[in-house]
Symmetry: D2
Amino acid sequence: MTQPIQVTVWNEFRHEKTNEFIRGLYPNGIHAAIADGLDKAGGFKVRSATLDEPEHGLTDNVLSNTDVLIWWGHAAHNAVEDEIAAKVRARVLDGMGLIVLHSAHYSKPFTGLMGTSCSLKWREAGEKERLWVIEHGHPIVEGLGEYFELEHAEMYGEPFDIPEPDTLVLVSWFPGGEVFRSGCCYYRGRGKIFYFRPGHETYPIYYDENVRHVIANASRWAAPGNAPTPVFGNAKPLEPIEEE
Amino acid sequence: MTQPIQVTVWNEFRHEKTNEFIRGLYPNGIHAAIADGLDKAGGFKVRSATLDEPEHGLTDNVLSNTDVLIWWGHAAHNAVEDEIAAKVRARVLDGMGLIVLHSAHYSKPFTGLMGTSCSLKWREAGEKERLWVIEHGHPIVEGLGEYFELEHAEMYGEPFDIPEPDTLVLVSWFPGGEVFRSGCCYYRGRGKIFYFRPGHETYPIYYDENVRHVIANASRWAAPGNAPTPVFGNAKPLEPIEEE
Amino acid sequence: MTQPIQVTVWNEFRHEKTNEFIRGLYPNGIHAAIADGLDKAGGFKVRSATLDEPEHGLTDNVLSNTDVLIWWGHAAHNAVEDEIAAKVRARVLDGMGLIVLHSAHYSKPFTGLMGTSCSLKWREAGEKERLWVIEHGHPIVEGLGEYFELEHAEMYGEPFDIPEPDTLVLVSWFPGGEVFRSGCCYYRGRGKIFYFRPGHETYPIYYDENVRHVIANASRWAAPGNAPTPVFGNAKPLEPIEEE
Amino acid sequence: MTQPIQVTVWNEFRHEKTNEFIRGLYPNGIHAAIADGLDKAGGFKVRSATLDEPEHGLTDNVLSNTDVLIWWGHAAHNAVEDEIAAKVRARVLDGMGLIVLHSAHYSKPFTGLMGTSCSLKWREAGEKERLWVIEHGHPIVEGLGEYFELEHAEMYGEPFDIPEPDTLVLVSWFPGGEVFRSGCCYYRGRGKIFYFRPGHETYPIYYDENVRHVIANASRWAAPGNAPTPVFGNAKPLEPIEEE
């Protein structure tokens, strides 16, 4: 029997405590809605971790037992300790998958792994979003139609200051006139990273069937296999050489 | 239970009939050695097809029941009917995986899908080949060491006139002074293509454990999922527009 | 003094003869409008070639004296001789730049070099197009704003069945709900290819300042430099090897 | 007349003061040898900046008047102030070109912009290096042969923990059995980055004609043009939308 993929859903988990409207949408936190989607998809063992737990819930033990880390943050990126963000990045380079949702484009793990500002355009007007599939053979889009729609979403628009994705799988259309690279795959070190645009704490995005489907596909794609172990540093020659 | 992946191994299958040394290495054909490797890996249902069968063994029925086509050819690329080669290319764009081995760099399906000459340097001197892993998180290199070696191989060297791979997973070193992009992944249409360098009919390459491991990994990676169906042609607007 | 870049603008040049409205827009042919834009930009020596000339105007002499070939075709792709299309592709692999405009996505030189169907969605409704810059540091977008608009254009929408561009520089937005990768760069052989979406014979697209600016930038980018000459075929070792 | 490209060559400049052998090779510092190469190529206005100057020689005024920054460091990466490294990275995202030489793979500007460890294999044995051209149409390889050689170099080998280059232009071969991606191009923000492997303070690498040729080509490629200015943040709709 295949082992379940161990997913940790990290959530800032503050909006849900301080804002009644958001609590109404996500009474147990955004992480619970995401975990519910993965549970229904099957094949995952999901736990959560949140900002205000000790070590933000990301102890060494949790990180080393996490195949895929899903990250949601919005207003408190700076409250994440640099040391914890660095551990997350190191674990990604060592093979852990990382799925970065929506406003987590500005999170320390993502900006540090991208090396760019990760800035973008945004507008909160409850606009429709239509996400077009760009790379049809990629496992992250399996089972989708040629596009899917979200009735109300925060708009994110280009320019999105990221490295060109290793594979661009989704591009979004917004009625206000913008486009956005909304599904972006990266290989980094032994790990895989997927940035997925949809979300916002004021919309029930993480109950949407297509969004859940993509997150489940991405979690399978990003899960580490038995990756080769790179060996760095001073190296003996593998073939006879004439030393100078 | 997961369905097995249906692999068709296509082989020119002429050297083995005309050259005693080659027949000694591959008494039932190169395709049989490749099929044996997949059988031992498990999870595949393998059949073969060869040049001198009617329609080169690639009837519409065979093609439509093939998840992944492995292609080995060397001296008789021109004997492949244009019409069959076109069918293969169309099936790849429609989702069938394609694994192109060694001298099949000059095969009609591959050159047609790449659009370039696919020319390269070569030398038959029984040199060692060392294949270095470049993209550690890619599923095709799972389970490998940081490199693997083949004691005797035909040399292929850069320049290799291909489009830059969507992902470059392996680069080869040869003692004569050359390097080569020896594991190259492409998305094309709904399909996936993997070019894998090792081979040659005069070496027992397709009995090598690492080579077999890569071919099995690649067959899993290239197998189609439930890819979205692109809709081309005249399109009605999805949003109200003002006609000019 | 820098030598001017020798540009040949190839035009199907049939619509302009048979349709009065189109002739009104492009009285001397689309090629003349494109050439005028390049002349005004400066630094180019422009000639034209058209379908109904002998060898479609693309004699060996013309091709070997062309740095950059701009291609516009729409309704008569099949009237282009296979042999001429093959010569164009070979010249691109040998270093000639190729700029493919709008409906030339289905031209023989482009589909052959891409290896995919190059199919897409389309709609003739005179919609607005907004082209967003995606890769700000690329020479093709120098001097543009963060986006530019065309008031009336034929819509092209994803899926666009092309290889993932080596660099994606522009993405279009359309009011009917579609997006499109409208500026796509490719390295192929020693040459460079740029697909640029805007156009259509029924709109004065090739008089637009931004469109002309992009075509001039692309012509500079695609012009061949002194590219290394690849050496293919049987190669002597560069280092001493032990022959088997 | 074309304005010269303003290049600043940054050098750690410590080995040359403390080690007689290195001082013998580079009596005025590695930066002087690099500057000499650019001066001979022509079209550049070159200045230098070194670690032990105030602000490491990289004042705001110097950075804002630098088109292309060339970076050489080896033993004192940690002595570079975080604040200065951050300014360099910000200037790259704003359009300044960055050329990263040899052991500067571990410099703060480069690792920060890449987001990965940038670790690699190395060996000091005075081996030969042969650099093969991989992307023949790229401006950085103009004027080279299909490969060039350095008689004695420090070996760097894969794995090289970098993001897959946006364009891979050179791959190195070493006699000890290793390969290395030795010419790597990146777009980041409005800027361009080129990593170029050759070097080492104990070899006269920066007097080599081919190395100088590549550095001059790369400086031209990386020089900023008139790049579009991205606009980030809260955005008004460009088209009428229905607010929720």
